[in-house]
């Protein structure tokens, strides 16, 4: 019972994971990453959340965007665009190297988890980063315009179509990647990162076996909604379109009985009482991670809070 397991999507998740990596040893921290966003584009297998987490831990992330690589160039995309190819998904040259080699290895039959492990080793990332599954569970977004593949909705259509629901294709047949259930079984604490509950954390929890394994543990979530808005991405817009007022509370209600403790932002202090009344332990701190110091500080606060919650729960 000595692992800290983080469940993470892309940018927001990667930031907290990066903070956690500065507080924990590679033996302690295991990150389970969303794969619902993964898709095939230009014949390449692209895993945006996995790459964002790995690039961030490797110190290779573009700090300005939160996604993609530092020092990136765009010559392949420019050349592709020149001959009429699709450029709506921004693939940098350095990033392309990752997709080309991952696709090559997947085609040769290797599982995503093994490939990710080897990439992390090459990038000198000592922390364990696991895709939630080696199977594909592509997210589909039900919208007013029909069902859209996630990246079509998210990047190509810039989240404009109004959302009415989500589907993670083939998720009932997916298996957790090797190491996922083992890490959860050995977890002192599960931290749900400030990622989109619908399309980043949802697909992880829907994989058969994961939600049950998480439910046995002390679980702390960090709210991705601050003052009714998402720090990044369409989470708040999705809540609204699904008829729910976006708030830290709404996120807690969505995770329901899975949560033991909950970390909200200072601006949402007014929701503390209702959250406590609902049976949650609550930590209210500055959750916005603008700098690396913010990531480190928030990670430390979440871990300290988690320890207290764990102790109280297990005393």
């Amino acid at each position: 019972m000595d692992k800290i397991v983080a469940l993470a999507g892309g940018v927001g998740g990667a930031k907290l994971v990066h903070g956690l990596s500065q507080c924990l040893t590679p033996e302690q921290l295991v990150t389970i990453v969303n794969i619902g966003d993964d898709f095939n584009h230009l014949g390449l297998r692209i895993c945006p959340d996995l790459d964002t987490v790995c690039y961030t831990l490797a110190g290779k992330a573009n700090l300005a965007t939160g996604w993609g690589r530092a020092g990136e160039t765009w010559n392949a995309l420019e050349s592709l665009g020149e001959i009429g190819g699709p450029t709506w998904f921004r693939l940098g040259d350095l990033d392309l190297g990752t997709h080309l080699e991952r696709t090559r290895r997947l085609r040769s039959g290797e599982p995503l988890s093994k490939i990710t492990k080897d990439f992390c080793c090459s990038w000198e990332v000592e922390f364990t980063v696991l895709p939630a599954s080696d199977d594909n569970v592509p997210t589909w977004v039900y919208t007013e315009e029909g069902e859209l593949p996630f990246q079509e909705y998210f990047v190509h259509r810039q989240c404009l179509p109004k959302v009415s629901g989500f589907r993670f294709a083939d998720v009932e047949a997916a298996k957790p990647a090797p190491g996922v259930l083992e890490a959860l079984g050995d977890a002192r604490l599960v931290i749900i990162c400030p990622s989109n509950p619908w399309v980043s954390i949802g697909p992880i929890l829907e994989i058969p076996g994961i939600q049950e394994a998480v439910a046995c543990r002390t679980v702390i979530a960090v709210s991705p909604i601050i003052g009714g808005e998402a720090v990044k991405g369409p989470a708040a817009k999705m809540y609204k379109e699904l008829g729910i007022q976006p708030s830290a509370q709404a996120v807690a209600q969505q995770y329901g009985s899975l949560l033991t403790g909950y970390v909200i932002d200072l601006v949402d202090k007014g929701q503390e009482e209702a959250l406590r009344h609902a049976g949650l332990e609550v930590l209210t701190v500055d959750t916005l991670m603008k700098t690396n110091a913010d990531r480190h500080r928030l990670a430390k606060q979440v871990l300290d809070f988690g320890e207290q919650v764990f102790d109280r729960k297990n005393k």
Copy 2:
């Protein structure tokens, strides 16, 4: 009977085609390009000769290497190498854009000739460039180490294994690309560029119907062998390993009765008499194309010579 049709491989062929493009109109010149070198690598369809010819005509070729793109960067390959991917085939970032889009379109069922036409249009190449076939006829090289796919032999093994023969897989079932037989049927002159007779011109001529169509025309070849050496590539080494002394004459013997006229370099002037004795019309000029002026001059000389040969043949 007003077309000039060039048969070309990569670098040497592209240079003469570029010269011809400076002497002829887009209506007059049709270039038929070798596809035996084409291969699949990293999930991409790569057509080295076709790209070299098109890049050259587009003014996008790297003049220092003769292949690849001007102003190329290598970030994808560097990133790929960092995670242990195969870097023996040098794929630049700009070049990758071409391969990604071609592969995408081939997968969607479009023929290579149509894709090439559209790429040329985007690149503002007004001249017609045709792959010899829309079918795959991958070149295999018989060597002392066994049969090797062409690029494995040519790039990965740097032409080191001793050659004993060649095979163009599935060539008997391949069809000339749309426009190939039409162009040859309307050709006043067929110019065989100074490309490798074994692995650049050979695969074009082996495609059922092409050699027969070429044989009906006035055919001028430019020797790729100067002073017993190839200007570039393994042609001379191949002749030696196959037990033939490399020379302009050896090339002429290989093309045999297909040739009407033959262009050799000044250093090979000693072979003129034997070539004429064998029934060929011979032009002896400086055939080394170091500068653009050389390309232009040689193209002009070849065309003028071709006209004379045509007139004498048809008077």
